[in-house]
């Protein structure tokens, strides 16, 4: 049997928050999803089983950006209106620094997304990939690893599959009720 006492993981994404701490790591033949702060739970997705990578924009980006802009603007105004004071403008400015950094970091993320991976038995949503920039980067890394194992799928293969199964979706046409809303 091959030696499996040592495994080297490449970190793809990781995020700690109040709700949980999730990480995504890449090994030579699988992806490892870790959850938890003090008791780490592991889920493995083998690269040969990954069927699709899906992401869609989520609604969290704009409200957070607006709130941060308002906070930064208010603190900036505060420092402007207290210029007569020798200490107060610097006080406001120092408080404003973390908010400005948060805003810059938030704008750099370019949008918030929900990110998921589909296999034949489940679709796993990855909370650790929450920004557009990160989603694009992780997509590239996962695609490279999956295609190294599965090979690449061409549009022609897909059209042949559709022709074989007669299931090409019609653009602008809703699928049947049973297909869209499975019971």
């Amino acid at each position: 049997m091959p030696d499996s006492t040592t495994l080297h993981y490449q970190k793809l994404a990781g995020r700690g928050s109040i709700s949980g701490n999730q990480g995504l790591y890449l090994a030579n033949d699988h992806l490892l999803i870790t959850d938890g702060y003090y008791k780490q739970r592991y889920r493995r997705l083998y690269l040969k089983d990954i069927q699709a990578l899906i992401w869609c924009p989520s609604s969290g980006y704009v409200p957070v950006a607006v709130m941060l802009c308002i906070t930064v603007g208010a603190l900036f105004l505060g420092s402007l209106t207290s210029l007569h004071d020798p200490i107060l403008p610097w006080f406001y400015f120092c408080i404003n620094i973390p908010f400005m950094l948060m805003l810059a970091s938030h704008l750099y993320q370019a949008g918030s997304v929900e990110f998921g991976l589909q296999t034949s038995v489940q679709t796993i949503k990855l909370d650790c990939v929450a920004s557009l920039r990160k989603a694009r980067k992780v997509e590239q890394q996962i695609t490279k690893a999956v295609e190294a194992i599965q090979g690449s799928l061409t549009d022609r293969d897909l059209v042949e599959y559709h022709n074989h199964t007669q299931s090409i979706p019609q653009p602008g046409k809703r699928p049947s009720t049973s297909q869209t809303y499975p019971s």
Binding site: T5, Y37, Y42, Q51, A52, L53, P57, G151, L158
Partner: protein, 176 residues
Amino acid sequence: MTLTALNDRRKTLPLPARTVSDDYGREYCGKAHHIRLFPAIIREKETVQPETLIDSQQASCYFHPKFAATTVCAISGRFICDLCTTEWEGESVSLTALQEMHTRGGTLKLETERVLWDSIALVLAFLFITGPVALMLVAWFWRKGPTSLVRRSRIRYVIAGCVGAIDTVLLARLFF
């Protein structure tokens, strides 16, 4: 074959006609999805048909005596049929042997959870009053190395040990 919509798990999207689709599925679930497909999506599922034993001279499966053995388990060495066989690290193994290995904790690839003693020691060290406990944890678990599967450094143990030692000295001076 369908895809699950991420914004609403009850809704599904039919397979797109292209391997990489942007702005797909708005009409099915109300939100545009970016989708990248891989060859596994069109791969046909394999069905297992065990071979029935027809000759008494033929080797039978260890777990199913009525079926013919088709391979040898790479872990246990038992003769097994197609029904019992699965692939593990490129080898054919029996599901029972794999389960036994999982129970023994014999391989990293089967572990499902771990307690992160280095993180616990670090938190306990910074709580001051629990500094000696952190020091004991560091001493106890140091040889095991980093407790997470994905962590390779002992830096948490080192910090927890230093802070825990300072805590212990301060507590000793406080009470004795």
